[in-house]
Symmetry: C2
């Protein structure tokens, strides 16, 4: 392959010119994406200063191009009478253009500066368990996010404007309904499990070989359908998935003393990765390519991590391989391993939480975010409110703010409204799973006979191949035949853990 | 580090606005650079189609920005009364703008399309030893390059316009003078060596461990002064050096059955890399940063590869480490190893050539390029002309065109005028070395006592820290006190090989 200067086709219509501009923006986004991937995988320490400058310039170039008078006019003109894929693409573009233009540049700039500083302060505050030093920055972040919400507009609740940024069409009422539905059942389930003897998973902790972990995780990631001809997996401090074409989707994982960590984080990221890899080829590099929302995306990572990866059937299939890779585990039987992979233990840290307690961590953040935005909770009172909610919902209480309200990066970066998508995704994964079971039959049997391709194929057909053609709500309705709800989630979760813990 | 949208400073002058635009172009170049690096190191096969499109779009964006009316006007206005660094920067920018604007867009596009196809055809033609299928494309390449040269303009010889693209200010007459000076002495030296018993280096061929080669090459690359805090070394099919900031310079190497291959290619690329790494911090990300020309750059790769790396003194120092890394070599003594590292053997393939024969390979290409451009040689007659020159200068004759005139990638890409910079760099490395010896004394003694930092420091002061402030010719004059010439090269090379081969 050689590089050559691309030349614009003669613009025959506003739409073809718009597609040309969108192609340029896509190239800028790809550049930002690869620079970010590289920063987190291979970049030498000395590269960070230039990297920050390069990325910020490319972001500004993208923003200037997107919000230019020409592009706004082209979007307007192209929208008249557009049909089919073009109409769907224009809907996506108009929504993003709306978000990019509604907030004044001065506020965008102020937020960028503030969060850049707030992030540095947060890193230090968390290390020093010093919430007081972070509090004034968080106060200002909340104020700016409030202003943003006002510029974006909303109908019922100021939080609506924010959650919509991450989950198109979702409202505060939707979140409330979800959390109201799961709060009590989850709390009850956690209490019931706590009364039972705890699983001993000490055999899974140790100094595991990194190359062996790499080989094993890549084997199972490949087995579930991630295509290594069109992707790769590298090591990074934090697992993530990124990409810039359906032909080049990248996962990262990390290796810890808990053998399960790399396994399940790899399956989780592979779920995100497959959603991207199996977008339609004809939409590659266009706004219609990729996952439709954070919630839908999370439903796929959770499906492969939990519903497939944490099933007993999966380990009937793969425990022999695991034992071969790690002969120390030779004595382990499938039922013991299954229990260890699904150990439930209320803890203080969200990112280490198990399948049952996870959504309670998220619920706490949602409630606190809403209260901070409406003014019902001041930043000064946040640590106590945080601790008290952990006590109520999880029965544990942080000894320090570092393992309390300082643990997450999101707020220092101004991301308020993001957290609920984690829970939506988890809940949705069960709803989709139930729908799949109606088509494919007993999914445990499907997994146990090694027919992961059927599950993969069903998800490709119903979800991955739809790209961003539909809104998230439309897609959920099409895939599951009903709107988003918590029934399948509560039923599935309760059944699984009742069996596991003998409730 | 967080990313934030960069905002333009209020433009107080044409120069400050120009610098803002140049910063954006620098970011686009950085993106292209990292995409190219990634393509050659980690990109999965499926990524190539999108990568080609992304890179070509970013190249066009760069070109459009650079040749925009605004930037041309800003360069013009900024040039009035500019002094010091600004004047030097504007000289560099004007030269590049000149090159970017003189050739009509239609010709650039035609060349891009042609060379894209020609490259594919060349790959197949080389594999199939089928020059005839490549010949029509090479004919068209030569025609287009002729047109380019006419647009660029020249004084004495059409080839002047082309070599100046790669080596500012160099002329055909300069090349002729250099090659006329070295043709006979090199041919004589090769003949004299051929009459002597050949060195047996079979002990260096084998199945060497890649991790051991990686560790050893990184150790010596670090020892010569390459900063791994601001760079890294990866594996690629072809060794190269690239970068996008003095804080992030990347080398690649490859591992072959000849143990010396990775060692000397690593030192070679590290020479390029250090020239970039030690540009002044205040010029980072500006047009004044980096090496001044291909010839100067090659002088630095050759210095570290040959004058340092292939010296006996260097191996007095590092052979013990090599033996530790590869215990199979335990019996090897320094003099034997020194002879193996400097084995001279006329061969057909330039990239595998030794220090003595290398410039004869280049000379042949220079003579053929000139003749093709003037029409003295037709493409049809190229294979025979090539073979006959190899017979004359090197005493070997290719049995096939694949190991003859089809071996290099350059012509299929339209790079005519590039080859002489390889020889200029080699010749210049000796001239600079002699100048360094006047300051630092016996350089073998300096190397043998492990004081590589003195050599590195001298080069940083005299060359690397000068960035692109001076023209290549000015820099050579400043560093060596005289214009470019072949005296030190011939003297140094002859003395070294007379001693090695007992001439």
């Amino acid at each position: 392959m050689r590089f050559m200067a691309a030349t614009a086709p003669p613009p025959t219509s506003p739409l073809s010119t718009l597609k040309m501009r969108l192609g340029d923006m896509n190239a800028l986004h790809a550049a930002i994406g690869i620079m970010d991937w590289d920063m987190q995988t291979y970049m030498p320490p000395g590269g960070s200063e230039a990297r920050a400058q390069h990325v910020s310039r490319l972001m500004r170039m993208h923003h200037d191009l997107f919000t230019s008078d020409e592009v706004q006019r082209l979007v307007e003109e192209s929208s008249r009478g557009a049909t089919g894929d073009d109409a769907a693409m224009l809907r996506v573009v108009k929504r993003e253009l709306d978000q990019a233009t509604k907030i004044p540049a001065a506020l965008v700039e102020e937020k960028a500066k503030l969060t850049s500083t707030a992030f540095d302060i947060w890193v230090k505050a968390r290390a020093a368990n010093d919430f007081k030093s972070f509090a004034p920055y968080l106060e200002r972040v909340v104020e700016i996010v409030r202003e943003e919400a006002e510029y974006l507009g909303y109908k019922d609740h100021i939080y609506d404007a924010l959650i919509d940024l991450y989950e198109e069409g979702a409202t505060t009422a939707d979140c409330r309904q979800m959390f109201d539905g799961i709060r009590q059942p989850l709390t009850d389930l956690v209490r019931a499990i706590a009364a039972k003897p705890q699983v001993d998973d000490s055999v899974l902790h140790g100094a595991w070989s990194e190359p062996a972990q790499k080989a094993f995780t890549e084997m199972i990631v490949k087995a579930v359908g991630f295509d290594f001809q069109r992707g790769r997996q590298d090591k990074a401090a934090h697992p993530f998935c990124t990409g810039w074409s359906i032909g080049d989707i990248r996962l990262t994982t990390r290796y810890k003393d808990n053998l399960l960590s790399a396994i399940f984080s790899s399956l989780h990221e592979a779920g995100h990765g497959m959603y991207e890899q199996f977008s339609p080829k004809e939409w590659d590099l266009t706004p219609l390519c990729g996952g439709v929302s954070l919630g839908l995306h999370e439903s796929q990572s959770r499906t492969w991590e939990n519903l497939v990866g944490r099933s007993r059937a999966f380990w009937v299939r793969f425990l022999p391989d695991l034992k071969q890779a790690f002969p120390q585990l030779a004595a382990l039987d499938v039922d013991s391993f299954y229990r260890m992979a699904n150990k439930v233990q209320p803890s203080l840290i969200r990112v280490e939480a198990d399948e049952v307690t996870y959504n309670l961590h998220v619920l706490i953040r949602f409630e606190l975010e809403c209260d901070m935005l409406t003014g019902a909770l001041t930043v000064r009172d946040l640590p106590e409110a945080w601790s008290s909610k952990y006590q109520t919902y999880l029965g544990v209480r942080p000894a320090t703010d570092s393992e309390g309200c300082l643990q997450d990066v999101h707020w220092s970066g101004g991301s308020i409204g993001y957290f609920p998508t984690y829970s939506m995704g988890t809940v949705l994964s069960f709803q989709i799973w139930a729908s799949m079971a109606r088509d494919l039959g007993d999914l445990d049997a499907v997994i146990q006979r090694g027919d992961l391709a059927s599950i993969h194929g069903w998800l490709v057909e119903k979800i991955y191949s739809q790209g961003r053609r539909y809104t998230p709500k439309e897609l959920v309705q099409r895939v599951t035949g009903k709107p988003f709800e918590t029934h399948d989630y509560l039923k599935g979760l309760t059944a699984k853990y009742a069996a596991l813990y003998g409730l």
